[in-house]
Every structure is written in structure tokens, then in C-alpha cells.
Amino acid sequence: MKKILNNPVDYVDEMLAGMTAAHPEYYRLHGETGRVVARATPGKPGKVGIVTGGGSGHLPVFTGYVGTGLLDACAIGDVFASPSAEQMADAIRAADTGAGVLRLYGNYGGDIMNFDMAGELVEFDDIRCTTVILADDIASAPPAEASKRRGVAGMVYAFKIAGAAAEAGRDLDAVTMVAQKAADACRSIGAALSSCTVPQAGKPTFDIAEDEMEMGMGIHGEPGVWRDKLRTADAIAGEMMDRLFADHPLKAGDRVSVMVNSLGATPPEELYIVYRIVKARIEGAGAHIVMPLVGRYATSMEMAGISITLCTLDAELEGFLTAPCDCAFWRV
């Protein structure tokens, strides 16, 4: 296992200890469980709170996006495992300034059950909660079953846009509406070249030959749409754009942001090679690219591969997307 760690059981706690030690100006641990990260300086009273939660191993997702114009708090589980309902409840309490809290997270069964139960737990604290669930991975279910799709990198757009809306003073219902609009505007697809290793498992999540890739694979190694010989960058990017456009065609004049994201090991050099094609395809459809994001925004530790996310914007979404934000991993 080509990983730098101590006892695998301590992976997440040691990660959080180092992260909060390196960036005390951004992050602090909240509550007894040690698995809730909150803003170093809480949002001003009356600001709607935004929380997320999920498994570790996806930095900057989830905890990295706690920051001004982004999230208020995050409950983080073991690698690829949901945090507990208690931890999520703590995150909701940390995020609440009296204006209610939006639960904004990915479409995974365990996370949903726990966030629902967390919501019931904080009812005793009279905290009003709403929910928006990301389901942007088009490879994980056909359009007819879009609600079954997993949430992946589209989350980053939702965090950014909802965070800006909350920072702008919108109330809970308004922030929730904007977040839902952002979630609905996102489509993603991934392609993996290699697996990552969950520390406590100690071996790669899946095997894949040296010359193979898998189109549509999920960020935890969930099976994709095909596995075959590795294609060229232009062929891979082309097919991913074909699939994204087939699911959600762009119209001439559309304004879209696009994210070309590394799953971890794939270097920026190769993201830029891919971006050439992505840009040509979007502009070829007559659409206009706003604030392209090329880098590591939602990863699976050392997994090699990429994901591409399209976020179709209206004036409101574009305004919030391009508004300022600040965390240790991202500044706009």
C-alpha cells in the first residue's frame, strides 16, 4: 500500500489534527466526537448555516470547503464511511446561528439515513433544517432514475453557490431553493485509471490492469459503464462530453461552468490536455464557459483518473458562483 500513514485506525483523526493545526485561521474541531470541523470564525448571527457530511478520503471534499462563502460545518466519517447521526447533529448545531441550517450532501444511503436522524435529534434544539441532495453522477443511473444517481464533484458547485447565497443574507428557504437549483444544474461523469486503497482495508478497492481504464466508475470504486484498454486523452474527453451532452444538451448561448477534476494522482498537466477538448466541445455547442475549474476539487485519495462536471448557469447561479469565497483549498 503506497500510503504514508500510521495505524490505519487513526488515519482520519490524525488527518484532522494536522489539518486544523496547519490552518487554524480556517478550521476548528467542534464537539466531543472530534469528527466535526467548523469555521474558525462562525458566520455572523442571522446567516443561514450550511452543513455537509460524508466519508473521508475526498479532500478538499468535504471538510476542506468549510470557509467563508462556503460551508459552516462538516461531519466527517472514516474513509468512505458515513459519519454518525450524532456527529451530524453536532455539525448542525455548530452551523446554526438561529436562521436554520441547510443539509447539503451527496446521495448515499447511509448519509441520508444519518442526516435524517440528525435532523430529528436537533429538533429538540429547535433548529430548523432543510435538505438538498446532490445526485450528479450520470453514469450511476439512467435519466429515468436520476434520483438514484450518486453525488460527486457537482457538490463543489452546490457548496459554492449555496454558500454565497447564505453569505448574501438569503433566508433558509431561499438558500435551499438556490442550492437545489445548483444541484439540478450539475452533471458529472468520471473515468478511473487506477484504484485507491482504503487504509483500514489495506489493499486496493479494485483491481485494474496496467493498460486498462473504466469509464463511469464511482469515486469509491463503484462499477462504471465499461472497462477496456486505456484510450487517448482526446478520446476519453470526447466520450465523456458526448455522455454529458446526451444527458443534458447545451443550447447555443448557454452559460456554463465546467470542472475538469483530478481524482487524485492524475496531474494538472493531464487535466489541461483534457481541457482543450472540453473547451472546444462546449464552445462548439455555442455555449459560453464561465470560470472553468481545472484541478483537484473532489478526489479519492491516490486514485488516478478524472471527472468532468458541467454546471449550467442562470444569472443568479452565475452571480453566486463568481462571488468571493475563502478556504484553505479554494479562494475566489
Binding site: G77, D78, F80, A81, S82, P83, S84, A85, E86, Q87, G109, G110, I112, M113, N114, D116, M117, L121, V198, A201, E222, P223
Partner: protein, 204 residues
């Protein structure tokens, strides 16, 4: 003869021991179709329950609420959350009571099943723990003798697991391995069979 705090404490010890015994088996079953943590979830939860056992109150509602919280505290995995959900549903019903009768088991298990269905947004027949509980509720319906209830429950969980074995998984992480899962036990049903057997066991 009615079930009271003392009976619960004894059952807790039996269940905790059973989960330690099945730790590897449950992890392996879950590892084949999911993330392999089912044994971890159950042992962590039951250890926490046992640690608090001495302080458990007479009120069975309060008692079961404490057990439920042990699971929400110790695990974020689906099964732990579902266990907590089911226990809480029974806790609400028994609030203020110090005992209950064998004849009530069917109704109480049904309450847990329904709360867990709501929590997990899944239906019966999906090859999950829900089918185990549904079988237990039906099999114990109308039975008033504790021994008969126990045997019927254990038998029902056992056969529900067997009858579902050929079917594909439809829920949770196992869903993406639907084909592979045919002929394999659902980890959650396997766990519930062990849980019911431990509770039903009178030799202890």
C-alpha cells in the same frame, strides 16, 4: 412470565457475546457486497450498550432509548442507524413501563420494522433486514408463550434469510453488485438471524 430489566440485561450479555463471536463472519459477508464493516458496527454498538448496562433504568422506554443512542454514537453505518431507529420506535411505545409480555413481541417488532422502513426508504421484499423483521413479526403474531415466541422468531429469521438468498440485492451498497449477490446472504439479514437467535437462546 413478563420481560423486565433483568431479562434485558441478560439478553444484552448474550447478544454482545454473539456479536463478538460473529465479528469476522459479519465483516466478511459485508465485505463481499459492501464495505465490510458490519461486524465492526455491531460489536462497537453492543460494547457501548454493555458498558452502560449497570446504569440502565427500570423504565424499558428509557432503557431502550439508551441502547439506541449507543448505536447512533458508535456508528455511522446503515445498520447501526437502522438498529437505533428500530430500538427508538420500541422505546417510544414502552415509555413508562417496567415490563412487557411475550404476546407483545410481534407488535413491537412490527413497530421497529415500520420505523426502519421509513428511515431507509426501502420496501419489503428487497432482501434486507426489513424482511427478517417482517418474518419475525408475522411468525410471532398471536403467540403468548415466551418459549414459543422465541423459537418462532429464531426460526422465522433463519428461513427468511434462506428464502431471500437466491434474490439480487436491491438496497444499499450491495445494490451495485446485484448480479453477484444472487445466492449470497444479505449481510444485514445474516446479522439479524444471529441477533434473534442470541435473544431467543434460553441456555444463554
Amino acid at each position: 412470565m413478563a420481560i423486565d430489566r433483568a431479562a434485558f440485561l441478560a439478553a444484552i450479555d448474550r447478544l454482545a457475546a454473539a456479536m463478538e463471536r460473529d465479528f469476522d463472519a459479519l465483516n466478511a459477508a459485508d465485505g463481499a457486497l459492501g464495505d465490510g464493516d458490519l461486524g465492526v458496527t455491531m460489536t462497537r454498538g453492543m460494547r457501548l450498550v454493555q458498558e452502560g448496562a449497570a446504569k440502565l433504568p427500570e423504565d424499558l422506554g428509557q432503557l431502550l432509548l439508551a441502547c439506541a443512542q449507543a448505536f447512533t454514537k458508535s456508528s455511522g453505518s446503515s445498520y447501526g442507524t437502522l438498529m437505533a431507529t428500530g430500538l427508538m420506535a420500541i422505546a417510544k411505545d414502552l415509555k413508562g413501563r417496567a415490563t412487557f409480555d411475550a404476546v407483545e413481541v410481534s407488535r413491537l417488532v412490527g413497530l421497529a420494522r415500520d420505523a426502519m422502513m421509513a428511515r431507509g426508504k426501502a420496501e419489503l421484499g428487497g432482501k434486507t433486514v426489513l424482511d427478517s423483521l417482517d418474518a419475525v413479526a408475522k411468525a410471532t403474531n398471536g403467540l403468548a408463550d415466551l418459549a414459543m415466541v422465541a423459537d418462532a422468531a429464531a426460526e422465522a429469521a433463519q428461513s427468511a434469510q434462506a428464502s431471500m438468498r437466491p434474490l439480487p440485492a436491491t438496497i444499499g451498497r450491495a445494490r451495485i453488485f446485484a448480479e453477484k449477490s444472487k445466492g449470497m446472504d444479505d449481510p444485514g439479514m445474516l446479522a439479524m438471524t444471529a441477533i434473534v437467535a442470541a435473544l431467543a437462546d434460553r441456555q444463554g
